[in-house]
Amino acid sequence: MIRVQSDPIDVVAVLEAVEGPEQGAVVSFLGRVRDHTGEQDVTHLDYEAYGEMAERELQRLVDEAREQHGAERVAVVHRTGRLEVGDIAVAIAVASGHRPAAFEACRWLIDTLKERVPIWKKEWFADGGHWVSDRP
């Protein structure tokens, strides 16, 4: 399961997508919208994606997680559009035979997703919004 979508993320479906009788360890990451960034209150976020490339890049990441980081089954879903505080922006689940590989692959996936997958986040405060990538 690899998706970039505007619909809410179904976490149960993400976890079920990696179920398998040989995989004893499932590690998942959920990224939720926080109510603040630094000292500032966040009112909501907008996520913009280069959708078709984002899904292709996610597929490349998943292939790499399988080939080089010990992931056996992987699901990644990223949401786009307007998200409110508490909404899930990204969900990753990795299943492996044993837990070290599952932890390492899940961590690698979210770190690399945030470097490589063309999805941008605009944070909105009471006094306006800014693209997070605008700030050094």
Partner: protein, 87 residues
């Protein structure tokens, strides 16, 4: 050539997509000749609002290096830094 812009770049330039005549811009048939760096240099001339912005380039939905070729029928995207690593 379709050139796609996103996020802060789209807002700076005022377009999300431009139809860019790269062939005539470099003076003729560019197939297999022009590089990504050359395209970017030309885009920065035509769109001065790109000044001060950093971005990577994707051709046909894959990141490319500056020395790779780009053809006139490509889908080019300027990719500003993505959403970052803090959450």
């Amino acid at each position: 050539m379709r050139v796609l812009l996103f996020a802060g770049l789209a807002e700076a330039v005022g377009h999300r997509e431009v139809d860019f005549d790269f062939g005539s811009a470099v003076g003729g048939d560019v197939a297999g000749e022009a590089t990504v760096d050359e395209l970017v240099a030309r885009l920065r001339e035509v769109f001065p609002a790109l000044a001060g912005h950093v971005f990577r380039v994707a051709v046909d939905q894959r990141y490319v290096r500056g020395d790779e070729p780009v053809t006139a029928d490509a889908e080019v995207a300027l990719i500003p830094p993505v959403s970052g690593g803090r959450s």
